[in-house]
């Protein structure tokens, strides 16, 4: 399992389950600080036909974080060989609108709300 952790957040890639899980509160400063998480997401896509990104316990994500997530979704779309699912929570206010916007970047993206 590949994992990252910082002040108030955790990011882990469970290769066996084909799932990247982001938890807590992500408030990193700018795309540079998000680079390790971006890399973890890109690595998870490599050679995989299906991947789930679980955000159901990600309480907070700042603007740089949503930009990182948007870039990742574009990257997954351009690869054309990986079915992407994003799991969110209907109780976390920011997820409703923002995750639906990601679907506009990748129409085949599957959104699942707990």
């Amino acid at each position: 399992m590949n994992a990252l952790a910082g002040d108030g957040y955790q990011a882990e890639f469970d290769s066996a389950a084909g799932c990247v899980r982001l938890c807590g509160s992500l408030r990193l400063g700018g795309l540079t600080e998000y680079a390790p998480i971006s890399q973890l997401l890109e690595d998870a896509l490599d050679g995989r036909s299906a991947l789930t990104v679980d955000l159901s316990t990600l309480e907070f994500l700042n603007s740089s974080g949503i930009a990182t997530l948007s870039k990742f979704v574009i990257s997954a779309r351009n690869r054309k060989d990986c079915a992407l699912t994003i799991r969110g929570s209907s109780t976390i206010p920011w997820q409703g609108k923002s995750l639906n916007n990601l679907k506009r970047l990748m129409p085949s993206l599957e959104l699942v709300f707990d």
């Binding site: 603007s63 949503i66 930009a67 948007s70 206010p93 920011w94 609108k97 923002s98 506009r104 970047l105």
Partner: protein
């Protein structure tokens, strides 16, 4: 003609031969000229054909190159268009996300602001909110030359109540009392606050001493009707002493009104509790 001499006939023949020879020479010359012209034309045609073929090949090559460039440009336009669409969606996503996060923070800020001014046990305004309200209402009443009233209320024998029934019952008792105070206030600007312990303050803007006394009497009546048992009190039920003060503010110190109401509360306590002391 048949009458001509042989000599003459020979001359004619020679002349005819000479003319024929000249004609043959001319024809040969013309034939030679035609051959040259034809050769020239053929060679010229070959050169033109070769040149045209070369030009044609060059044009075809250029057409192929242009088609390739056109395809590349079309691909580039498609890529740029896709990236442009992506950027628009990303921009909109980030903008809407930021708005959502702003709302989330604003909600938490408002909640924190509210919590910071609420007494967690009773749900009434706390000391901070009370101080802010007294300052603002004092200033408003001073500007508008209107009366400002204040009630300082204290539960009688509350220490005995806690000793007898325990602090959990004491807390419940304070919550019941808070509900009675809240129910007694009818105007938006009126404020009931927990000052501390078992002491409560009511601020009544635009209210004179008479109106404040009516409210104090109503409170005591409501408390009497609630009939909260208090076996460690000489009244056998929960009672409250109230100091009531009112004035049209003329000074800059809002503390004077509270000091007067608190002094009157002390007077009510001294007089035997379960009563109202007025300005």
């Amino acid at each position: 003609m048949s009458g001509q001499s042989p000599y003459v006939k020979v001359l004619d023949i020679e002349q005819t031969l000479a003319e024929l020879q000249a004609m043959v020479d001319q024809l040969q010359q013309e034939r030679s000229d035609l051959e040259i012209a034809l050769t020239t034309a053929i060679e010229h045609g070959d050169a033109i054909e070769s040149q045209l073929e070369m030009a044609n090949r060059q044009l075809q090559s250029e057409v192929r190159e242009r088609l390739a460039v056109e395809r590349q440009l079309r691909d580039l336009v498609t890529t740029i268009t896709q990236k442009s669409r992506d950027l628009e969606v990303v921009l909109q996503t980030i903008t809407e996300h930021s708005d959502q996060i702003d709302l989330q923070w604003l909600g938490r800020y408002i909640e924190a602001e509210h919590t910071a001014r609420i007494d967690s046990l009773t749900g009434l305004a706390n000391r901070r909110k009370l101080d802010e309200t007294i300052d603002s209402e004092w200033a408003r009443a001073r500007r508008s030359r209107q009366s400002l009233a204040m009630l300082v209320c204290d539960v009688d024998y509350f220490k005995n109540y806690n000793d007898l029934y325990g602090h959990q019952h004491g807390d419940l008792c304070l919550q019941q009392l808070a509900a009675i105070l809240t129910a007694a206030l009818r105007r938006d600007g009126d404020l009931a606050a927990r000052y501390g312990g078992e002491e409560f303050v009511i601020v009544l803007p635009n209210t004179d001493a008479c109106g404040a006394r009516q409210l104090a009497e109503g409170l005591q009546e409501a408390l009497r009707r609630a009939a909260i048992p208090h076996e460690a009190s000489p009244y056998w039920q929960l009672t409250m002493s109230i100091g009531v003060a009112a004035c049209i503010p003329d000074g800059s110190d809002p503390g004077t009104l509270f000091a007067e109401a608190d002094r009157l509360l002390y007077l009510a306590k001294q007089r035997g509790r379960n009563q109202i002391a007025l300005t």
